[in-house]
Amino acid sequence: MPETLVAPIEELTAGYYAARDDEAFCDELDGLLKHYVGRPTPLYEARNLAGTAGGAGGDVRVFLKREDLTHTGAHKINNALGQALLAKRMGKRRVVAETGAGQHGVATATACALLGLECRVYMGTEDMRRQALNVVRMQLLGATVHGVEAGSKTLKDAINEAMRDWVANVHDTYYLLGSALGPHPYPLMVREFQSVIGRESRAQILEQAGRLPDVVVACVGGGSNAIGIFDAFLDDTSVRLIGVEAGGEKIAPGRHAARFAGGSAGVLQGTRTYVLQDEAGNIELTHSISAGLDYAAVGPEHAWLRELGRTEYAYITDTEALDGFKTLARTEGILPALESSHAIAYTMQLIPTLKPGTIVLVNLSGRGDKDVQTVMDAMK
């Protein structure tokens, strides 16, 4: 982390610790999550999906945590609202954010519109092309979207540019980071704002299935939806926690974003974690059909939990993710985001290997409307 950011980060850490101990702050966030975002989101048992998976399929129970049904259509709003409230509490009038798929950008633009904050979103031009609909949504919400031409023109480059903006404007600007990445306190803070997903899921599955799940599956880009749902189950050691990364075209440099499959320890953007890098320590380009998973580093808490042996990670290729997308659409009438389709596709592969009666909880982190064009192009 550059020296210029040390003091702002210390200010942020102090601001966050004060806010989370403040009952009024927590009540305001809870109220917004309930009445504005639409929480709690449903937990839905996907019987048709389980039935099509083959093997013991029909006897395995699959539950989907429907984050796709939140206001703005993805889990990103949980964190964006929490941090936007914090920005306001800290007296900042301007918010900058990065976005990959555009879901975090839309969530941030939404929260800023609601709370009267100026909003500037940095987005790689490659992502602007493949998520054009979300660019318009952000603009309609009053945000300025700034295209980033550097590097691979995706999420990593957008984060660099958002950080440069923050460095230059720390006095009045809040950096609203969208994933469980970056320097402390971001990974902690983003996990805590997203942990509502796990808390709700745990209570809902106990009520609907009468017991804890055996497996929890979530896709992992930076890893905020995954850490959010895993968090409530970390102490339940009988529950397997599986993160699914983007295998892209194949596991070869520049063709994927599976950090645990092709990465090594490194430092990127203030985080020491698993990173895709070359021999000289330069960060490799990444590829995934889903913009939200297309990032060279994984959230540091995932790297740590994996080292402890508490979590496992797998990957799903672009083609498999597309199959997951189509299968969920046809069998359940739900269009998942391409990011979440990785978790669906992995679950489809996992089911035949499970014992009858096994319960799988999948985080359906976002809806797929934004991806329709990409899916159409891929099906040509």
Binding site: M1, N160, V167, Q277, E279
Partner: protein
């Protein structure tokens, strides 16, 4: 006395402001970097900062970002930069400071890096995204090999951290004159002098002030309160314009003489 200490002692005794120059190694390629470094030395640059290109230069503005892209495109790595310095060290009088992001150094391994930096005759190392709190291991290895650890201070650095940097840093302290990324500006930052005076109150180490310096006036002005001015983006800009020309080294030399005028 290290070479950096000798250099700043000389600057202080002769009363002229020192000039620290930054270039991105490998822009446009390492062969030409060798020529540029010799030209800078001939022109009287007091300290040569050699930037290691990194794929994600988040503290740099557009000029150094583009230089980084050109350097990476020409295949420049930290290892290649160290090999080059080792070859040309004997031709150059000025102290050489490696200016790098943390990841290339961690990838090479801190100890291996320190060994190779010593063998290449490097005088100081500045890792611009490694906070003081995490610099211990690297600093120990460099100190054992007689290499100075240069620390960065920004306008947002608290007095407490200034004091810590004054204890842990050596060679000189690098003060960033303004918030924001690297890049040439028309005027010096308003708080620059205060910043240097804040440092002077806690440290006797020489202070070099950088970010936004591009003219002889700036250098003279900075010299009134700091020991040296750092010129980066505007020099990199000269290299960008003259990179493929046969006059590259002459232009670089003229530019540095103009800055010192």
């Amino acid at each position: 006395m290290t070479r950096l200490e000798q250099t700043f002692a000389r600057i202080r005794s002769n009363g002229h402001p020192g000039l620290v120059t930054y270039i991105t190694a490998g822009d446009p390629d390492l062969d030409r970097t060798a020529g540029i470094l010799r030209a800078l030395d001939r022109a009287g640059a007091d300290v040569l900062e050699v930037g290691v290109p990194f794929s994600d230069p988040l503290a740099d503005g557009p000029v150094i970002q583009r230089a980084t892209e050109r350097a990476l495109a020409s295949g420049t790595t930290l290892s290649g930069v160290l090999d080059l310095l080792r070859t040309i060290r004997g031709d150059i009088r000025a102290p050489i400071v490696i200016f790098s992001y943390a990841n290339p150094i961690l990838r090479l391994g801190s100890e291996r890096f320190a060994d190779r930096a010593r063998d290449a005759g490097v005088d100081g190392v500045l890792i611009l995204d490694l906070p003081i709190e995490e610099a211990d291991e690297s600093r120990t290895m460099l100190t054992q090999r007689g290499i100075d650890t240069i620390l960065l201070l920004s306008p947002t650095t608290t007095d407490e951290r200034l004091r810590r940097a004054a204890e842990l840093g050596s060679g000189f302290l690098y003060a960033i004159s303004r918030l924001g990324v690297t890049g040439a500006r028309d005027a010096l930052a308003a708080g620059a002098q205060d910043m240097v005076e804040r440092i002077r109150r806690v440290s006797d180490l020489p202070v070099a002030l950088g970010f936004g310096i591009s003219k002889p006036d700036h250098v003279r002005e900075v010299g009134r309160w700091a020991d040296a001015a750092v010129v980066g983006s505007s020099l990199v800009d000269v290299i960008a314009r003259e990179g493929t020309s046969a006059d590259l080294n002459t232009r670089v030399e003229e530019y540095v003489r103009w800055l010192k005028s």
